[in-house]
Chain length 304, copies 2
Amino acid sequence: MICWAFSISIQIDAQEKNLAEKLGHSKDSKLLIIHADDIGVAHSVNAASISAFQKKGISSGSIMVPCSWFPEIAAYAKNHPDLDLGIHVTLTSEWKNYKWGGVLSSKEIPSLLNKQGFLYESVEEFSKNAKPAEVELEVRAQIDRAIAFGMKPTHLDSHMGSLFASPELFKIFQKIGKEYNMPVLIPINMIKQMAPQLEAVVEPGQVTIVQLFSLSTSIASEKWNETYNQFIEKITPGLNEILVHLAYDNEEMQAVAIDHPDFGSTWRQNDYNFVISDELKAVLKKGNIHLITWRDIQKVWKAK
Amino acid sequence: MICWAFSISIQIDAQEKNLAEKLGHSKDSKLLIIHADDIGVAHSVNAASISAFQKKGISSGSIMVPCSWFPEIAAYAKNHPDLDLGIHVTLTSEWKNYKWGGVLSSKEIPSLLNKQGFLYESVEEFSKNAKPAEVELEVRAQIDRAIAFGMKPTHLDSHMGSLFASPELFKIFQKIGKEYNMPVLIPINMIKQMAPQLEAVVEPGQVTIVQLFSLSTSIASEKWNETYNQFIEKITPGLNEILVHLAYDNEEMQAVAIDHPDFGSTWRQNDYNFVISDELKAVLKKGNIHLITWRDIQKVWKAK
């Protein structure tokens, strides 16, 4: 009998559980990460993102290590070790009047920097110039700086999607994720639509997102919550993620995002208002959607 | 007769005019520069300083090139070439949660950076570690970056006085000023009081400040204007300068200056309120004090 029971147990273990089951949910559960990007870029972003964490409006976020406001969020994270924060690998500096370089010196990453010594403004310029070996060095340096500041980052993603710009960069992204035992953002829906050449290089054993949702840039303020709600109502079983970009619509954020309404100051205030709303909580409850974190995933994910 | 008149003229030229005379004022004129430090460090500082320039509350200012908000003030300066802006040579990064490195790479200026890759927090740490050759490189790089952004800097001064930390650094400061044809801040009153070892290395031909005034850190808000006014009322003939530190007391500035009331957010709002006040204009008029700029000085000053 003992022997038989043992063999049953082996059989169950051998049958790979899906992510929902590994996290203690039923197989067909709808899982959702509500994720705030760009934390660390400005004080306004830090303050709104911390507030959204406290109000349980977001379950996760990721930080931009090369920015001047990184030490503020790193200090907060060190004092709140349960917070789910990953590294928003930052290889571009997109704003007009507010700039940053890399963590590494210009001698080490010359191909990542423009003539002024800042990271390039666009992914196009980045991918045209960046040498993969220098990208790899800089990504590691950003993770290492976060760890040196006492953080325990839970995942890797990529600011403006720069690491999705080529299969070679996408491989580096996955390789470094494995080495640091951090799952990386792999949004299958977006890859199929926008970067199908990456599909063949998604490595076995990676956690993948069924649907990643980010508001389109043409959205009007009055359509904000409705558009998010429509996405949430259609969520299917498996792992889903909503990317939000939070800040208070104040002087600082207006100046950072000058001449750039997409992902700008009003945009970020709209996102903040949405994530802290009772409406969002009601929609999630109605849809029987489980909010999870990258830390949950990290715990059950084994880098191979 | 012609010959005699000519010889008189030679005699007058040979008799060195003082700065006031060179600027078209009478010999015993009281000259004052009202100078905003730290421009470029934060958007709040940029916005308040630009407003104070527009309201003619300050006559001059200087910028911190390594900071993320430098491009904002550089763009403004490029479009307002008459603005009097110098380089606030920045060799420290003093705030708790908001940091910057140098303009040069960590490979070029290792002695100026702490373990985290940022400039040191204090002048003490800076002067204990800094190699003069690296200081010289970084000072030049800061000036060169400002020029590369289309600025025409009018003078050099030193954030937190780090270039007053030793005779060797003070010599570098003067040497680079001469090379770029920029007068440098040499406050005779403060040198006598706080760094008498520098007196012997003030080079002939330098423009010197008779009285440089900066509010003491113990000042109460209600004593603000009164304290400045007392200084102004006692101004004597020659070149004087008041250092102010402007910002709006808003969320950004409060976060920059967290746990640091001296030169903090309220402090800077108090300074802003003072410089734009009618009271200041009245006190200056009553004292027959001429507001001048470093650009005025630069025009008549010949580096030797």
